[in-house]
């Protein structure tokens, strides 16, 4: 029963979504299922939060490796949750001035806005910006012209790297933009690589992925692949 119900739910949901795409009268049902999906996605946030708490509380209680980071995470998580859900320091909306919780949670100047503006925003931007350092280091250590394929990759990388900046325009600016050799200008070469080689390669990959998804989905809907239900030993 524990496995049968989820199997039937999956099969019904999957078949309805497929049928609703091809048969007009079933479109309404497909829409209802999509709305249920959106509601479930909202509830998944609660599940995710609960899971996060469970894992890190266990780590702190066991004094596992790096448990101090878990403490920081838990404090930040609970503070943000409390300030956001409780709408701490938020003024009521002008539409409902008597309702103390009617203001929007991220009101400008409020504590949640402060946490976002001065903690979350700079921290996430910093994390992303650090990629530049690792890319430079990795390029220096790993990018070698060891064989023909690597040379082709290296050449393409150089053209794209230069073509995406003014350096490329400057380097091949002496080639006329009107004549038969205009395609050799770095910016045009870069565009050609993206529009032709990249486009065809990506299309082939997308078609391959789509066929893989269709086959995996059919296996899941028909109950052949049951790995998403877990081992069943718990």
């Amino acid at each position: 029963m524990k496995r049968l119900v989820p199997l039937w739910l999956t099969a019904i949901a999957g078949i309805v979504m497929i049928v609703s795409y091809f048969i007009p009268w079933a479109q309404g049902l497909g829409e209802v299922f999509s709305i249920w999906f959106d509601i479930l996605a909202g509830i998944a946030f609660i599940l995710g939060g609960g899971n996060l708490l469970q894992i890190h509380l266990k780590k702190v209680s066991d004094k596992g490796a790096g448990w101090g980071y878990s403490v920081i995470l838990l404090v930040c998580f609970m503070t943000t949750l409390f300030v956001g859900l409780g709408k701490i320091g938020v003024h009521p909306s002008p539409q409902f001035p008597d309702e103390s919780w009617s203001g929007v949670y991220n009101q400008s100047g409020g504590p949640f806005w402060f946490l976002y503006e001065y903690a979350f925003k700079p921290l996430t931007a910093t994390m992303f910006a650090m990629l530049a350092f690792y890319i430079a280091s990795a390029a220096f250590r790993a990018f070698r012209a060891k064989n023909i394929e690597a040379i082709l990759l290296l050449g393409t990388a150089f053209i794209i790297l230069l073509g995406r900046t003014y350096a490329g325009v400057w380097l091949t600016g002496w080639i006329s933009d009107e004549g038969p050799f205009r395609g050799l200008r770095t910016e045009n070469l870069s565009e050609y690589i993206m529009q032709v080689f990249n486009k065809t390669g990506t299309r082939a990959i997308i078609i391959g992925i789509a066929l893989g998804i269709a086959s995996t989905s059919l296996k899941v809907i028909l109950g052949v692949d049951r790995s998403y239900l877990g081992s069943g030993e718990d």
Binding site: I35, N106, K121, F140, Y166, K199
Partner: protein
């Protein structure tokens, strides 16, 4: 003081690059030079990258931009719209990618507001998305277009969880999911929402996307099933852009790829509608092309040096 700092930084960058190049060339003659560069502490590379980004940023280095066909298409699709036309502004990014996508989001808002279009903002990417929308509203609409009235000329519908599930529903019934705007006002009480039933009534979708859910999901679940009714242009991060090219030009009319695309689009918008009063606020993409140029050149130089060493070692091994 700042100029002196910049000169010192620039000199340091040039000297370091020179030292690395000389060392690499010397690698063919002196094996110990090979070991020095090979075992170079990666923190020196980090310093070089820091200088490569910091100097042009501090010096506000900009270069001329020649818009490519994709940026021109994006610009022309918005140009075709008439005042009062509806545009869905799908802002699917967060602060992590703000550096890359913020300038194009700003330019899109400026362009659309200049044209007098009705702007419907929403996000399906992350709960942080509404803050990105607030940035566009506060930095562009409230400062440059004070006559733009909330609920009449623009609306912030906020974030809805469900990723492509949201797109799938709102292409046929928008109010089924969006019963209120981001501030809790019923969409029935918002004047510009009254005659909107679904996304199919939008004259254009402008999507700024940093990943899942974003441009791909809008293409798969909005423009592909309704090619006659839904048109879309997008701006994406550099990592995402190659994956979007296969959808051009049918499912996706035009694409701004990364900061380069943003800079090209800014050039088009500012050439058409810019003025000296605006300063550099609407040329942030172009300002960020300076660091991109130096950083790209640095990466190329590093790769060349590393390969010189590789071939020097290979030659010695063969000899």
């Amino acid at each position: 003081m700042l100029d002196l700092f910049i000169i010192v930084l620039a000199a340091a960058l040039v000297l370091m690059l020179l030292a690395l190049t000389v060392t690499a060339v010397a690698a063919f003659r002196f094996p110990q030079a090979t070991h020095f560069v090979k075992d170079l502490d990666r923190r020196w590379i980090f310093v070089l990258m820091f200088l490569a980004v910091a100097i042009p940023l501090l010096y506000q280095l900009t270069f001329p931009e020649e818009p490519t066909s994709l940026a021109i298409t994006v610009f022309e699709e918005i140009e075709k719209l008439e005042p009062g036309d509806k545009v869905l502004m799908a802002w699917d990014y967060d602060p992590a990618s703000e550096g890359e996508l913020g300038p194009m989001a700003t330019a899109f808002t400026f362009h659309c507001a200049t044209k007098g279009l009705k702007l419907y903002y929403m996000t399906i990417f992350s709960p942080i998305g509404p803050q990105m929308i607030d940035d566009a509203i506060n930095n562009v609409l409230k400062t440059e277009f004070p006559h733009y009235e909330y609920g009449v000329d623009y609306v912030n519908l906020g974030y809805k969880p469900g990723y492509e599930g949201v797109v799938k529903v709102i292409v046929s019934d928008l109010k089924e999911l969006y019963t209120t705007d981001h501030y809790g006002t019923s969409t029935r009480d918002i004047p510009m929402m009254k005659d909107v039933r679904s996304v199919q009534q939008m004259d254009l979708i402008v999507n700024v996307s940093a990943g899942y859910a974003g441009t791909k999901e809008w293409v798969l679940f909005a423009t592909t099933p309704y090619p006659e009714n839904i048109k879309m242009v997008a701006g994406t991060t550099g990592v995402m852009a190659p994956g979007m090219y296969p959808y051009i030009p049918d499912q996706l009319l035009g694409l701004l790829a990364a900061i380069k695309g943003a800079a090209e689009y800014e050039e088009l918008v500012m050439s058409a509608y810019g003025s000296d009063d605006l300063g550099l606020a609407y040329r942030k993409g172009q300002l960020r092309m300076g660091p991109q140029l130096i950083a790209h050149v640095l990466i190329i130089i590093l790769i060349i040096i590393a390969n010189i060493i590789y071939f020097a070692e290979k030659r010695r091994g063969a000899a």
